[in-house]
Amino acid sequence: MKPYRAELMVCAGTGCVSNGAFQVKDALENEIKERGLENEVRVVTTGCNGFCGVGPLLVVHPDGIFYQLLTTKDIPYLVEEHFLKGRPVQRLMYTPPEDKLPVPKMSEIEFFKHQMLIALRNRGIIDPENIEEYIARDGYTGLAKALNGMTPEEIIQTVKDSKLRGRGGAGFQTGVKWELTRKAKEKTKYIVCNADEGDPGAYMDRSILESDPHSILEGMIIGARAIGAQQGFIYIRHEYPLAMKRLLIAIDQAKEYGLLGDNIFDTGFSFDIQVHRGAGAFVCGEETALLSALEGQRGEPRPRPPYPVEHGLSGYPTNINNVETWANIPVIISRGAKWYAEIGTENSKGTKVFSLVGKINNTGLVEVPMGIKLRDIIYGIGGGIPDGKKFKAVQTGGPSGGCIPDSLIDLPIDYESLKEAGSMMGSGGMVVMDEDTCMVDVARYFLTFTCDESCGKCSPCRDGTKYLLDILTRITEGKGNMEDLDLLEGLSKVVKETALCGLGQTAPNPILTTMKYFRDEYESHIKDKKCPAKVCRQLNIYTIDEERCVTEGHGCGVCMRECPEKAITGEKKKAHKINQEICVKCGACYDVCRFGAVIVE
């Protein structure tokens, strides 16, 4: 392999790619050639680095210099200054909010500094489309160890001892699930990787598949050996084309190297993986619905028990784990259960990847040890709330989870503590909300999602979510009454207890938690017909500050032109007025006024 003096790691996760990472990469390569540096400096494309809010981004080794928000225009200057003359370019570096000096090194940026990477161990460090880069970082050594020095029972015992729990949501002990599948009677057994990630705001599985697909394959091969499965399936959603592409490349390479297929490492063990593309139904993330879809049936759940570990794909024992769970397996095998079990809390071991999105300064994917305080994620890694706003709550676990209010900011995050607070770990979405977020509207948003995604098989979910959504909509429009609150609560409990699958059983969680922690907001929507966060527009009153309209905006008239109901009157250079009787409260005037003259009450 030819030596290079510097490697430029261009992030090519979906986030950066949609912001032009490939154009930046081409520009870099062209400029490097132009300067005659092509034998000294090499450009490598990697998977997602996690700091998606500042992409496209680039990490320069050996010094670990981090560049952000790159455009093709920046490239000639960057190449000349840094790669030719050795002067890192400050203006392209990350500067923390409320700080003036940039932080050149990736390892010293707050967002990266406090993370602990296990599932994301190779993110941004390897080219995901090159198996040798994965092997260079100790890839497939866990597999070599499992196949050559361990019995299937020993592998299962190691996973049990590590106390790894399913990262897809429910948190069932992975080792126990493996053991149940291994002990099932039939000889034919299957394993499945659930890559049908669908929670709004969660994208850790996609990121792992894009940045380190071999870690999933290695985890699955080890799992297959332990369980005694001959065939594996990866159920991946159609909306993840880049992840799919890299996964297929990885499978081809693993086959070429003899790591998948017949007689792996000459041990007589054979295993193959097939990729199945999902068609975009959220319910297929539920394991029984996923199996139906794999069988070519409609993606609808069925009652459990029997659980898939006994009666799964085509009736055979099937072990289903989520992407992040599989990605942890190779390291647990190669470094041992003891090492893993030392990380985290008593009942939640290891790390968890969270996608930190919403009203937060540093948007991105973070991997942290279990038990970390919510405060450290929001204010430490996340860098706090933008524009000096106040933190209000965070929604964990997507539409199946619930909100955690400001008062619980020192909550240590693990499976139990989140459940106790009324939410759940889920796949690890964290949607941060500030004072401008209306909690009733948030509940309504998530119910719109679950109502839309309900498959319709059981009536508690099909009709229940619809009815819950109707009540919430009524409240946000100012048509609710106090009895609606009891109805919401009662109906939520009924849906929770009677729905067939996880989708329906968890759908009311956003309502129950927002009612528990923010009941006053519901009451002010109903009693005072006011939305405290001024989000529910039907409850707002829009007026014009006449003085501001004249002195700042000189009666520009933009609001008048934009008003769909012609409710605004006025002349140039004079104050405008809204006729409250005609106004439909669409808020268009507020959106277009550049002078802050439209007041919302």
């Binding site: 030596p3 003096r5 050996p62 002067r87």
Partner: protein, 127 residues
């Protein structure tokens, strides 16, 4: 590509070690070529090429090569700084390809400072 064995994994790891060293930033030695305008005008690019050739022909995998700006002593360019792990940096001045080769052989590979080309031990303090 024939089927690989567990032994091949180690072979592939070894082959990629130069790249791994680079990405982990953990080399045994680091050579910095000063590439300010003055350095480039005095022939720093040739020094860099000579250096890269040494690294390649000797198949060394634990030496980091990097560039930095002008070191402030423009009349003595081309200039490099050699840092071995846990040792103070040494600056070499008025370099040529031949001098570069000798420094690589004596200092980088064998740990003996080439006194006749060295300017001083240590770097000025940053800040």
């Amino acid at each position: 590509m024939p089927k690989i064995t567990p032994k091949d994994l180690a072979r592939i790891r070894e082959k990629s070690r130069q790249s791994t060293t680079l990405r982990e930033g953990a080399g045994r030695a680091k050579v910095t070529v000063h590439m300010g305008t003055c350095g480039i005008a005095a022939g720093a690019r040739d020094i860099m090429s000579a250096l890269m050739k040494e690294v390649e022909s000797r198949d060394v995998k634990d030496v980091l090569v990097t560039t930095s700006g002008c070191a402030g002593l423009c009349s003595r360019e081309p200039m490099i700084t050699v840092e071995l792990l846990d040792q103070p940096p040494i600056k070499y001045v008025d370099l040529t390809k031949e001098k570069m080769q000798k420094i690589f052989e004596d200092h980088v590979m064998n740990g003996n400072i080439v006194n006749e080309y060295a300017l001083a031990v240590g770097s000025e303090r940053a800040h």
